[in-house]
């Protein structure tokens, strides 16, 4: 149980796909101009990650090693298309504002990376914890970047006006360079957090 919990925590902080592994950045920076997009993208990503990892882990013994990549892609593409269809049917607004980035989950390196490095070698339970950890790790970073950018760049949070009426939005934060700046700040914050946690754990060991 303890190792499962550790796997889960890996994705959220220590091996956060965006802040530590720094993969899957392009779509992450592109959709984070509003909080609702961030949440939508995070949930879609978590769903695809969870189910692709589960399916691949269950069938890992029958997937021939030399044909594994095409099989992984078929499985990931199938789940991504399902998310796209369901979003179009039940959340048309969200689907419209996310545009092309939902179908592009297929080629997201986070999913490919986790599937190749983790799911194809591990059994069911660790895989569930890994995908949830990675998914939540991805989602919280998206929401944090999006909140920062939306509040400063547009004066709203999830579409609701939060800044006073005479606040002049700083357009820079909505534009791509603003995304990079916020991302860099968050990365350094995460490194600080990681070091701090490592220190306190060491202190505990000594005591």
């Amino acid at each position: 149980m303890k190792s499962l919990w550790k796997t889960f925590k890996q994705g959220i902080i220590y091996e956060n796909p965006l802040l530590m592994l720094m993969i899957g950045l392009c779509s992450a920076l592109a959709v984070t101009s509003s909080v609702s997009n961030g949440i939508g993208m995070g949930l879609a990503m978590t769903f695809v990650l969870l189910f692709s990892e589960i399916v691949i882990s269950l069938f890992r013994k029958v997937i021939p090693n030399s044909a594994r990549i095409p099989i992984f892609i078929i499985i990931i593409a199938a789940f991504t298309t399902m998310v796209d269809l369901v979003m179009k049917a039940y959340f048309p607004e969200l689907s419209k504002s996310m545009g092309v980035f939902i179908p592009l989950i297929v080629v997201n390196c986070i999913i490919m990376g986790r599937v190749e490095a983790f799911a194809s070698k591990q059994s069911f339970l660790p895989v569930v914890f890994d995908s949830l950890g990675m998914g939540i790790g991805y989602t919280w970073v998206l929401v944090a970047i999006a909140a920062f950018r939306e509040i400063l760049g547009n004066g709203t949070f999830a579409g609701i006006q939060v800044m006073p009426g005479n606040f002049q939005p700083i357009l820079f934060f909505i534009l791509p360079p603003g995304g990079f700046l916020v991302f860099g700040l968050l990365t350094s914050f995460n490194i600080w957090l990681k070091n701090r946690m490592a220190k306190s754990e060491k202190a505990k060991e000594r005591a």
Binding site: A30, P64, A67, I74, I75, T81, P92, M98, V100, L171
Partner: protein, 206 residues
Amino acid sequence: MKGIAKLGLVLAIFAAAACASLAVVYAITKPQIEAQDQIALTASLKEIFPEAVNFEDVTDKLVSKDANIKFLNAVLVKGENAPIGVAVKAAGPSYGGQATLLVGITLQRSIAGVRVLELKDTPGLGANANNPGYFVKKAEKVTFPGQFTGKYLTDAFAVKEDVIAITASTITSKSLTKIIKTAGDSAAEWLETVTADTSAETTGGK
């Protein structure tokens, strides 16, 4: 040889299973997606023409003058007893791919309203054309498509002159303006021929 055949077989089985499960999801969501499109279209039509009572399909009668801009759908909008305008669902190229707009034209050759139905563009930039909270005239709370309402087709429709562009999205602004102008012109031209013999058309009982 045997090895390759086996690999192919395994790959085929996975592909078939993925196809089957996708087909199920597609079949479940298809009616819902179509219903959503229809709801969005009718709602947009009602927003542009609040007094509309029913719609008559006139898709074949309108011809686009621009090879890149296609008219997917066109309706003659009717009020209680007389036609009040034309609405055209037009698609044309924009910055992030194809954009679909619904353009309403009144009998007075002015734009009754514009709605963005489909737009693949950069979130936060060009996608603001479709954002009800993004205003090109902040003080009056006028959105990008909103600024066309009441505009006469005799106007220039030139971005940065009589059309205000979306910040950092000049290409999107220009493409959308062109779609609106093309749809408006064709509709106005067709209206010309209809209103000349309105009595014959409307009492013709279609």
